[in-house]
Symmetry: C3
Subunit: 162 residues, 3 copies
């Protein structure tokens, strides 16, 4: 690996607002520092890049239930702690606005504009029945598996599991 | 480190079904790609490699309580989200079967057959009173501490804390 | 990066007793092995290095509420699992004492004496209104942002997100 590029690879496993904000703050900062950034979304992390509108079509009762309860979309995420039936999450968003911090939704768009690669995990999608092309926001990369992630990771200076 | 081997080291800190599946999917995929893989189990992560049968013998009321409530075994793990008194976990397992995805138990056996090293953390075992040799599945490596893990990690291309 | 030092960088994102103990066990072990260690505290992780005495002064009702409920201090942290209204956390501390394992508070002091750098995240502090200089324990480094962390991380052999 003679001319290894400075690269950051992140697995987004958790789908809470706080994990998402931490991930995208690191991703956009790294991109602005000239690093190449890949984010790989698996398990609950898939919720972060689901569409805010519409719903996911899937076949079978269990998949329908799972995808209904686990609907996702950057605007629906909650804090992993201190959600307090929505109050904590609402306060957090309010405080972010007060200091002019971008919303998660704006950060995702910003990351995409900066060239950060957003890749959904094919295995989780397969198990949860998210076969639908329009489950995710626009300009999301094609589904890929663990081998793809590991290949990215072993070319990276820094790899994080969030 | 002139001829550094391509190595993956994982700390398994969480003991939920989803974390365990993510860890073993990465471990087995990396092994199939020719990487050397070590997994270091600490705190709740120890539950993943505990035996499914029998119980852990430990001395003292508190240790007995802790080990009873925290019984572990790959077949007893629950999802970290959407467990819903067992319903979510049951649905997840069912959906995995539908697409012929191996169960966690099968994946652990597979990882062992592929040469993935599974190492329990000696410090956690010491504190929780898991002194018993037969607490863990067969062919688990000897207990080792943080220094062991750090040595593995600094020879690794990729290190993850799951 | 011709003479890259053996360095460990840790993001402390979670603020539970178990995550804190895992982080500081790794940090002090790495320092004793001659590694250079930086710990970067963000989100709930900030609670770990907050003062045990006194309270955080902040302006505005929401910030006051958030900082009251999220008071922190190494002696107030709880386990992420099996807290059981404090019983599990109390048992854990008791068991640690039985095997003469240092308390979290002692480990943080020890880490500082060994030269481990403890750095609070400026962005989280800004959003949560922790502007107060005396929110944190003594000898904590100045606030720094994601760019600081990424710079440390890309010079590190091992980087963990805990």
């Amino acid at each position: 690996m003679a001319d290894e590029k400075e690269k950051l690879t992140i697995v987004m496993f958790n789908g809470d607002l706080d994990h998402a904000l931490a991930g995208f703050t690191l991703a956009t900062t790294a991109a602005s520092m000239g690093m190449e950034v890949s984010m790989f979304f698996t398990y609950w992390g898939l919720n972060i890049i689901k569409k805010n509108e519409g719903k996911i079509r899937s076949k079978g009762l269990m998949k329908k239930m799972l995808n209904f309860m686990n609907r996702g979309g950057s605007k629906r995420l909650k804090l992993s702690h201190f959600n307090m039936f929505g109050l904590g999450t609402w306060m957090m968003k309010k405080l972010m606005k007060e200091v002019n911090y971008p919303s998660l939704d704006e950060m995702i768009t910003m990351a995409q504009e900066m060239g950060v690669k957003l890749v959904p995990c094919s295995t989780t999608c397969g198990i949860m029945g998210i076969s639908d092309d329009d489950a995710f926001r626009e300009q999301i990369g094609s589904l890929a598996g663990a081998a793809f992630f590991l290949n990215e990771a072993r070319q990276s200076k820094v790899t994080l599991f969030i």
